[in-house]
Amino acid sequence: MFQKYVFPRNVSAAVHLLNEHRGNARIMAGGTDLILDLQNGKYSTDCIVDITRIEELKQISEENGNIVIGAAVTHNQATKSFLVQQNAAALAQASAAVGSQQIRNISTIVGNVVSAQPAADSAVALFALDAQVRVVSADGLTVMPIENLYAGIGKSTIDSTLSLVTAVLIKKVEPGEGSAFVRLEQRKALTLPMLNTAVKISVKDQRIKEARIVMAPVGIGPVRATESEAFLKDKMPSEEVLQEAGRLAAENANPRDSLVRGSRNYRLAVLPVLVRRALEQAINNAEGGGF
């Protein structure tokens, strides 16, 4: 395992450390996944660059119509944040579903995205919320949509030996917008989901203006239900419409058979139900039904 453990004071110091070690230093936020991956040999590094003491990364703030969630913000911090609850109900719900109290006290929203597990709860919510991420490396700052981060199952396009995600940005909620997160699980704590789905919806004059529907684990990373999203445009959200939206969502899903998380057939059978329920809750949230 690693021989050095450092706490940079700011982001540029972190980037500097990465450069100095030329690929032999790695960013760690909460580390709840990384510590295990270092033990089982998925990763190895000489130096851990712990970013949890960088003050600016520990904040949830408002900036130019966005909610900015720093890379050291934990799941529990997000769940309890009024800003997140008000503007990103799906993220608050998803963050509350991760692991356990002890895990959520350490694990971070951004880490959940960078570890690139297909069914990472908060990442699924962030997909639905059309989040952007700020990536900083020696080359400077870039901002990109969260979709760009997934390179494969458990593989991120972010190389944590070269760069770090400093924050995720979520647009503040507009009138008529709402979101929700729904999870199917085999135990109510300490477990990955069999399926999870997050929805962001925008309703105007009782019609759906736009819906973003994201599902997992049904492919590489969180998957958009594009057919369903197109179908919902300008529809009145009746029971039949939402049912059909659920059915269409399954067309974009390609779950695997898992001896631990359920068969492909079962997951295809219940996915429409989850999507419908998430849509119902998101519409409720848009209408002012709180978190």
């Binding site: 199917l184 135990r187 001896l259 079962y266 059978a269």
Partner: protein, 756 residues
């Protein structure tokens, strides 16, 4: 002032302050001078022959002190059950510490002792093994076929470790006399104990070769005898003890804890240093005993009015790579489930089958929960076919005291009828037939199941227990017994028993358990027997000591001993003018006359049936198949209750293990023969958020054979849980699943099947 009567009082556990403050010592908390750390190399294949094994690189690694394989370890063949079975059970010896053939993923190949756990782990990666991979089989029905890969040479048929047949009456005749006959097959999964403390052992070998092993074994004497056999030593040269605390057992630690004890001893012998061998959670999951999975078929015949005429149960159990307690487990499955109802014609047939999976052995209920699930679902199927209420059908047929049954001991007490009626009232049984109207796509259902269990290990196992009781010079009392307290509370309950039996305050009694050097023989803690069996031997010892005290005092008072009594720590005479002596005064007096009151207590060989009726209310999500247990009522007759809080705790914990068994827990095998569930993350034992409201109802009886009227309790509450929940799910959705666990997938499949 001490309480008049300490039986039936919920005193706090004697050890709970140590556990609450973190000072309680468990095996892996111990540090001995010069201690080394062990690690085990395990088979990655479900079935293979070891062609060659080269340990030279591992041995050369700095810090490595010994490497052991089949080449330098005893080849004594044993069974972890250690000949505790009675002769009528055909115990099968089929294991060695390290063999040349590995039979499941996780089977032991080699072990290393090193100065740190990290070095030991690194050394394992340097051991070079060449395997000849053999064909493997994972399902017992497949394994029984003549052309299936053979694990062991079996005389009963391919891979059949044991065949058992238990008849009573004429079952063919019984079915012929029946007006309604039903038959149904069920499939049950592998369940894992998941005691929170992983298996571990520390072994130390003295210069004269005497072995001391600290481990969380539930059966120190069994482990001691087995180690003596394997290492060719007199049993008196082996000491096995708990450190003293055990982080749960549930049957996983009967005999050995995995193979930690013999491997630790072997490494300690080779190195001359103490060795700690501590399994990690994955090893605990894949390489220590599980509950038996398998197939169970029940055929029931009854008259139109519901009177049972015939019962046939057939069980094919998967015992995995080695037989272990399998022969005993399958026998208990049969006898317990043939003894719930008054049926004149009964036949049980069982086949215990080897497969290339983790060895199955004892787990809470010992075969009974598997059989009970099948039996109790079948009772509901029969009730439906007869048009009878399931409660009514059961009340009509349950065993009553002194009914004829197949067991060699009598049913002297039963409050099952009361348990059923009180449970039905509490759950609101009358709501069961209300129309099922879904609310938010959810429907509710109510179901029940009942059953019996044991209070001791006989007639299948050797079941006697002895106790030493020594009254100290200050009047306090030391009791030593060979059972263990793995968390079930026996040390506390036995303290109450000893205090009551001698008439002294509980504060003056200490019960020392779990050490073979200090205690006479005991089968240990299993079979719901600890309080029952050790309690009887303690009472016997107390009676003897009491007589010694009375005889001594008779001399002091100058009266006949029949004139004297001991109560509340005072020896007094019928004639109040003759005075009285405090217990401690008597002991001091005796001490000054060179006398100590000591005795060996022995129990009578007996057993008795506890009775259980469970009721569940569930809610089923018709769209996802999710089942939530809303409320669970557990009504129990465990005889006289010594400590109600401890008994409730046993019931609540076992109910939740049953909920997991019913709904979510299983270990299945992938196409490489690996366990798909090898961590808590993937094995869905319930969390606090999955826990239903549990109500416990105790109906006391006075069991004449038990200590102060007590019967067994520890395993009982796991027995009918799955059946009660299965019957509730069937009531909710109008269809049956017939396979455990009833996870979302299976429940939804049944719902969709029903809709077609």
């Amino acid at each position: 002032m001490i309480p008049e009567n300490i039986i039936g009082k919920s005193i706090s556990r004697v050890e709970s302050a140590e556990k609450a403050t973190g000072t309680a010592v468990f095996t892996a908390d111990m540090k001995l001078p010069n201690m080394l750390f062990g690690k085990v190399l395990r088979s990655p294949y479900p079935h293979a022959k070891i062609v060659s094994i080269d340990t030279s690189k591992a041995e050369a690694l700095p810090g490595v002190k010994a490497v052991v394989t089949y080449k330098n370890s005893p080849s004594v063949i044993f069974n972890t059950a250690a000949r505790t079975a009675q002769q009528k059970i055909n115990q099968v010896d089929d294991e060695v510490i390290f063999g040349k053939v590995v039979r499941y993923v996780g089977d032991e190949i080699a072990a290393v002792a090193a100065t740190s756990e990290e070095i030991a782990a690194e050394a394992l990666t340097l051991i070079e093994v060449n395997y000849e991979i053999l064909p493997a089989v994972f399902d017992p029905l497949e394994a029984m076929k003549p052309d299936a890969p053979q694990l062991h040479d079996c005389k009963n048929g391919n891979n059949i470790a044991t065949l058992i047949k238990l008849p009573m009456g004429d079952v063919e005749q019984g079915f012929a006399e029946s007006e309604t006959v039903i038959e149904q097959s069920f499939k049950v999964p592998v369940q894992k104990h998941c005691q929170l403390e992983n298996h571990a052992a520390i072994a130390e070998v003295s210069h004269n070769g005497r072995i001391t092993v600290w481990s969380p074994t539930q059966t120190p004497h069994t482990a001691k005898n087995l180690l003596a056999k394997i290492f060719g030593l007199p049993a008196s040269k082996v000491r096995v003890l708990n450190p003293p605390y055990i982080g749960g057992g549930f049957g996983a630690r009967i005999g050995f804890c995995g193979k930690t004890e013999p491997i630790a001893v072997l490494l300690a012998q080779k190195t001359g240093r103490p060795v700690l061998l501590s399994y990690d959670r994955k090893e605990d999951f894949i390489a220590s005993d599980t509950r038996h999975s398998g197939y169970i078929t029940v055929k029931l015949g009854a008259k139109k009015d519901g009177q049972l005429k015939a019962l046939y149960i057939n069980a094919v159990l998967n015992t995995g790579a080695y037989a272990s307690y399998g022969p005993d487990v399958i026998a208990v499955l049969g006898t317990t489930n043939c003894s719930v109802y008054r049926v004149p014609n009964v036949l049980f047939e069982g086949s215990l089958v080897y497969t290339n999976t983790t060895t199955a052995a004892a787990m809470r209920g010992f075969g009974n929960p598997q059989g009970n699930y099948a039996l109790e679902c079948s009772m509901d199927i029969l009730a439906e076919k007869l048009g009878l209420d399931p409660v009514e059908l059961r009340l009509k047929n349950i065993i009553k005291p002194f009914d004829k049954w197949m067991l060699p001991y009598p049913c002297a007490t039963s409050a099952l009828e009361d348990c059923i009626q009180l449970g039905a009232k509490s759950i609101g049984w009358e709501r069961r037939n209300e129309p099922k109207v879904p609310v938010n796509h959810k429907v509710r259902g109510i179901g029940m199941a009942c059953g019996t269990h044991v209070s001791n290990a006989g007639p299948w196992a050797i079941q006697y227990d002895n106790a030493y009781l020594a009254v100290q010079q200050d009047g306090s009392v030391l009791v030593t017994v060979g059972i263990t307290d793995m968390g079930q509370g026996s040390a506390t309950a036995l303290t109450q028993v000893a205090a009551e039996a001698l008439g002294v305050p509980v504060e003056k009694v200490h019960v020392l358990a779990g050490d073979t050097d200090t205690s006479p023989h005991s089968l240990g803690s299993n079979a719901s027997r600890t309080l029952y069996s050790a309690g009887l031997s303690i009472i016997n010892a107390a009676d003897k000591v009491k007589q010694q005290i009375l005889d001594f005092c008779a001399g002091e008072f100058g009266v006949d001993s029949s004139e004297l009594s001991i109560k509340n720590g005072i020896v007094s005479c019928k004639d109040p003018n003759k005075g009285q002596l405090k217990f401690e005064e008597v002991c001091d007096l005796a001490n000054h006359k060179d006398l100590q009151f000591v005795a060996v207590g022995r129990n009578k060989l007996s057993n008795a049936p506890p009775w259980i009726a469970h009721f569940a209310e569930v809610e089923v999500d018709l769209e996802t198949g999710e089942v939530e247990v809303l409320r669970f009522v557990a009504a129990h007759d465990s005889g006289k209750i010594i400590n109600p809080t401890i008994v409730e705790g046993q019931i609540e914990g076992a109910v939740l293990q049953g909920v997991g068994y019913a709904l979510s827990e299983q270990i299945v095998y992938n196409d490489k023969g690996q366990q798909a569930q090898d961590s808590f993350h993937e094995y869905y034992m319930p969390s606090i958020k999955d826990t239903p409201e549990i109500e416990t109802i105790i109906v006391e009886t006075e069991e004449p054979s038990g200590p102060f009227g007590a019967k067994g309790v520890g395993e009982c509450a796991q027995v009918p849980v799955a059946g009660a929940i299965a019957n509730a799910v069937a009531n909710a959705i109008g269809d049956r699943i017939n396979e455990l666990p009833m996870n979302k997938e299976r429940v939804l499949a049944a719902i969709m099947q029903k809709e077609k």
